[in-house]
Symmetry: C2
Subunit: 338 residues, 2 copies
Amino acid sequence: MAIAGRTTIRDVAAAAGVSPTTVSHALNGKGRLDPRTRARIQRTAERLGYQANRIARGLRSGRYGVQALWLPIEQDAASSDALMLDYYMRLASAMTKAFFARGDVVMLIPPVGSTGMLVPLPADGAIVVDPYVDDPRLAALRRLGVPSVTIERNPIDPEDPWCVASDTGHHIETLLEHLASEGAERIALLLPESMGAWSREERDAYRTWSKEHGCERLTRPVPMHDPFEGARCAVRTLLRSGSLPEAIVIGAERFVPGTMSALAEVGLAVPDDVLVAVAVDGNLARSSAPPLTAVDLQPEQQALAAAELLWNRLDGEEPRGPWTVPGILRVRGSSHRP
Amino acid sequence: MAIAGRTTIRDVAAAAGVSPTTVSHALNGKGRLDPRTRARIQRTAERLGYQANRIARGLRSGRYGVQALWLPIEQDAASSDALMLDYYMRLASAMTKAFFARGDVVMLIPPVGSTGMLVPLPADGAIVVDPYVDDPRLAALRRLGVPSVTIERNPIDPEDPWCVASDTGHHIETLLEHLASEGAERIALLLPESMGAWSREERDAYRTWSKEHGCERLTRPVPMHDPFEGARCAVRTLLRSGSLPEAIVIGAERFVPGTMSALAEVGLAVPDDVLVAVAVDGNLARSSAPPLTAVDLQPEQQALAAAELLWNRLDGEEPRGPWTVPGILRVRGSSHRP
DNA sequence: CGTGGGTGGAAAATCGTTTTGTGCAAAGGC
DNA sequence: GCCTTTGCACAAAACGATTTTCCACCCACG
């Protein structure tokens, strides 16, 4: 038994010559206690290496000390390849660290399909990453009564204050500005056909910017389920359409390989013949040849913000509205003619 | 409160007109009960949507229902880039799914440095991925008395039966055989300077194979902390050494970008001028140009095996010895001259 | 001298489940 | 007919903490 032999609150109480009640009060800063008694008990607890049993605590207090992290990853063998993006990995790592710092642990939830979520989550709260339209994760959490915070806006309810959002529109603008400043006039956008809010935000920002700058609109929708082929076809179509774009903005990290492959195929060099930039930074962007300019979504900051927000929600505090984490433009070789 | 309002065992008992004890026995298949009563209670429980409260169960049974997954990821800002490999992500996903299927949840542990692991893990057991020499994770688990299973052998104790191992040596042989069958005679190995067992297994297998086939030994050690520059330098040195190798085996996934970059730099085409293969499959190998031949370590299988093994260990069963999951050679364009 | 209020601490209730022990029939052995 | 076994179900005792309630004491005040 993993828990056997651990020192309990009773041991501490005996060693300090007080009752378990008093120990609990002393360690949790509750009740009325002589400050000296409190200090003495704390020292005793420390000396004995006492750590409250989380299960027992949870049973009484109703809190598990466990938070669920629900990534949007589908685990069908077919599409698993392309979905393992390091953005999610960074997010998961950062989330783990952020929660651990305050004594909570993070648990991963398997993809929706594999379980149907019949089991109630043994978690206090949940972080839902990249919610999409009619997201079964949100439905399940609501049904189970588990409070949640989303990373990226819920397309059904964009003003939901329990949300950590990137300013996707602004990121697209930044990329377009950057590419324009490098001399590109005809800038194409590879637009993810996603049910998430960010995909629409990309489209809207691109439209607005194009109109404001009097630029031609060159977008190609790309399906998410076969990102490699999807992106490759989209780029081929784009290039076949007559006048060549001078720059391409890739709307989703997973379209990187397909895009680069299509460009290489027709012998277009990056950045000499066409500039390229990605809306989401990651391994694929960094390790491309040449490395691609991209927007770093700062998953570490997002994780911190999400943890904070979730704690607030669990504490019954009032929402402060969506929390925007600014992305950072990482300029690399793909968008800069030497 | 996330748990409020849930139907308890008492509700079921009342609805079925029996005592809580009987309900518990009925649902857990224990005790002596009239089969009809048992069936009736099960129906009642199902009708009421009863799910046992994991915390309460854990308190009594001494099991948390939580398993820890401890990846070897260091989270220093400096090296974070290269370590986010999709192999780990696949492993994490698969692990989550495997445990969830039997009612356990998986929790992620933050990297060693960030916490010092003062807090006892609220977990029944742990999976340690890629243990290295004097691994602080193993030390911490031993100190905390948390049973564990490793993925890949512990270099300090290679015969530890509580282990899911790849047959790394065999994988290297397979790659060498494959490259030789494609006509390569001088095959170089980029050897990770890792403290893990797999790196030594790669070296030994390469040595043995070279000796048996009377081939020249061409290895370059590559440090793990700056994989891109490390691999690039190693490949440069390799190419500068006079006679060109006809094939290169990349010993670690993270060396892919650096290697490909160095080859491109000197104008060597893959596979025309040099064949390339990787010991670990992943996004980097698949999305390289051309896609790289690699050994798929089958993280999904490893996860299943590890979960099984950990459950065995927790149940106090006897170890059956290390469990080997065979890798699969994925032949791609990088090793095959058309 | 009785009472009121503030202090410091302990006793008891509680959380929901599992486990152990108890009770009460009906059946079976002498 | 009495005593033991067997089958079935329940009561009560854990599990280890938190939270609520309560008590004993001391001091001050009327």
